[in-house]
């Protein structure tokens, strides 16, 4: 895939969050919800409906993929569960978004809009 990751920027905050928690580990639906809430310190609470709509979009855009095999440590769990993981393209998009945000924070800090080291 040689699409330009910048074409999808800026990402919606919950899309970036889902990418982040999936980059950490491959997960199924509810595990994504839980990890997202923890990661964001409770600031972003995804509902199941919103989650799957986002997942649909992310699958269509090639940011994530559905796993054929499930991670080893959850063997014996319910067979129906679908697991998702980040694609290489998804990683590149997430990185590009994170850099974009870092630049924005840097710019804001330069004019004293945010705290940090004086």
């Amino acid at each position: 895939m040689d699409r330009d990751p910048d074409s999808l920027l800026p990402l919606k905050p919950d899309v970036l969050l889902i990418l982040t928690v999936l980059a950490e580990a491959e997960r199924h639906g509810y595990a994504i919800l839980q990890a997202a809430e923890e990661r964001s310190g409770g600031a972003i609470r995804l509902r199941p409906g919103a989650l799957y709509r986002r997942l649909g979009w992310m699958l269509d855009q090639g940011l994530i993929r559905e796993l054929d095999e499930r991670p080893a440590e959850v063997e014996g769990e319910d067979r129906r569960r679908r697991y998702y993981g980040v694609t290489a393209f998804g990683t590149r998009v997430a990185r590009a978004e994170a850099e974009r945000m870092a630049r924005a924070v840097e710019a804001a800090r330069a004019v004293g809009l945010t705290g940090g080291t004086p």
Partner: protein, 896 residues
Amino acid sequence: MRLLLALVRGLLRLGPARFRDRFGASLLETVEDGWRAARRRGRLAAWGFAGRTVADLPPQLAGAWMERFRRTTGGGTMAGRWDMDLRHAARALARRPGTTAVAVAILGIGVGAAATVYAVVDGVLLSPMDMPGDDRLVLAQDRQASGGDAPFATTGGVYLTWRRESRTLEGVAAMMGWTMNLTEPGLEPFRLRSGLVSANFFDVLGVEPIVGRTFRPEEERGLHRVMVLSHALWTGRYGADPDVVGSVVDADGEAWEIIGVMPPLALPGRGNSAALVDGSRVRTAWVPMNLEESWQSGFRSHLVLALGRLAPGATVEQARDELAVLTDAVRREHPENYTGLTAHVTSLREAIVGDVRGDLLVLLGGVLLVVLAGCINLGNLLLVRSMDRSRERAVRRALGAGRGSLVRLAAAESLLLGLGGAVVAAGVLVLGVQALGAALPADLPRRAAVSLRPGVLVLTPLVALALGLAVGLLPTLGRSVGDPVGPGSGTRTTRGRREQRTSRVLVAGQVALACTLLVGSGLLLRSVRSLASVDLGVSTDRTLVVDVLLPQGRYGDRRGTADFLRRLEEGVEGLPGALEALVAYDPPTEGTWTEQFTIVGDPEPEPGDTPGSFYRPVSPGWFETMDIPVVAGRTFTEDDDLDGPPVVVVNQAWVREHMPGREPLGARIHMETVRNNWGGDAPVEWEIVGVVGDVRFRGLRAEPGDAVYFSGRQSPTTFTRFLVRTEGDPEALLPGVQAVLGELDPRLPLAGATTLEREVRAATAQDRFNALLILAFAAAALLVASAGLYGVLAYAVARRRTEVGVRMAMGAAPLRVWRMLVLEGLALAGVGLAVGLALALLTGGLLGSVLYGVSPRDPVVLGTVVLVLGGSALLAAAVPATRAASAHPAEALQSD
């Protein structure tokens, strides 16, 4: 959970098939996981999760639809087509301004009203308290092991046992209601309702002071007079001055050091109830309890509210079992105090909002019924419209329009309706929350938490939009692609049979819902009326009630205090406009002090079986002024003072309960209260000299309590309610009373005043509020149902104009035609009425807990509802029928 899954599954059906096939199963599974996890945190958390999940789905599905349309039609031309469709839809809606306005109003008002009530329920029942980790806080109390009565405060001794031994609770704090008089130079004297708390109180609650510190363990020993201020007391009395920490104030004649200030938080505790004190508004303070005092650490006085924080992994049930075992151990050591008692543990939130949950859920149920009725009506309106336009649709299909474009057209119309509804709903919500905020009963727990949260404000219009879209699209989507209706196929009288039948079912459904709501509101109204007409057993008019607290020991012993109170009475009686001044612990409409006693000469009761009764010290003249009848013997006179023999008066309920079939006059009871309070030579045996009528001082809904009245001259109390019967407006006398008080003792604050009538009215505030709200819902549902009935009948009549014309041309009398049409309408309403009554009878039991003095099957209410609904149906049917029957046959025949 099954209901939740069914709901999600149903909603999914409204979404695009692709989304459903792709994610339906996974989504259901995730919802199931989420529910399980939330359920472990408690029922409220689970409900919250379910509510949020269901509320989130419609907008997501609408979004999925949009994405689908965007995909199926190429982007560029799509915008153009949508634009065209929207214009077309707007023109179509504008052509029927009446129908459109009704549809928008129904949608907007229905959803807006529902959201308003949800905002209240959310604030009171669902939103977290402003305390860290509040879901882990529990309230531990004592209760009778046999069940029955409500739980009550525990004793200091049992609290200390729990605190020492409990493993399921990682901390247990104690709190007792306490009152102090603050007197400082240059400041008004202030009666402070404070809390006596354990040193770990704030640690268990998990709250840090914003200035200074909280209590240290050694400060529970009675050696340290230290005080922590509430935020409101700090800002209101001390101008938010941080330097006040470290200063010393005079409270009840003793010097107390202020050591800290708490942030503006809702904190539990006021008096001996678990009600939250809103720390941003209530001026209060906390002082450490004193374990050296036996009434604070012994096993006799039930005054302690114990608040525990669950240890990690522990549940409320485990804590309940463990504390019950600990209480069992106490009982073995103190059988005289703890026989028959066990521990009662609930989550703090449950304890705070438990009382109003029933009321609020009734309201929510009512509003949901209204929304349902509104949606049915809206669907019906749109169905009728779609019937009207089936010919137009057929022409379009014949010209090659795909199903997608037809759906799009319907979607455009629904979208416009939905947008209108969304605007109206947002308006209703904003106004509604404001109006409701002003009307909420002042004593509603956590009332301060009721506010318009941004989430609700955003979600409400979205729900209205989604409902508009869903209801508007259903008739179109429900039609199979191969709909055989071609242009001109079928005649106008046969076409749309199926739609007509659907429409009739919908109308009957609306009538049924309106009927259920009307019955509910009728019952609540009757209940309010019977509450208002309850005979209190006492006259409440023109009576000023003033709270006065005398600092312990300020006037010396029993004699000094009794003298002070008599001088106060005499001073106030000298005021122009005052008829009689009386002192009591409780006003006649309240009962808060109970004591144990035995009847002299009766066998000693078993430990734990000592009878108790309400203890009511009153001034001489009490019964005469309050119109409480004397049944036997005499009442108190001024001679029943410290020099006279100790006497009491009991009420009829007391005789029924404790001396049935025996002569109470002349009997003596043994009661140690007065000696406990005043010590020394105070008597413990009291002779019954009179029996008086019962007063409902335990609340309007409760049976009158049993009471022993004491003469205030013989057993004065330092916490007093001061009552003044006046000639005119009682409140006009307040400045005079204040002046008398200031003259007698300038350091004594007057702690709040009200009138007896207002206190009684306040007791029914919640009921009146409920009834009014439900009545408003019922009126809305009645309007909606009548409009629906009218719409359907008018439409049916219009369709049958040809038939009517033929009949009349053939010589049928207009009256017969009229009767035929009206009967048709009434039959429809009758079916709905029957279903509605059945529904009302079935659900009546749910209302049982909030009703008073009226059966859920009250014939008056049921009859009235039948009459009102029948009348509305008659009116709704008569108008179109009259129009049809009065038309000239030729006109009718030509109309098509």
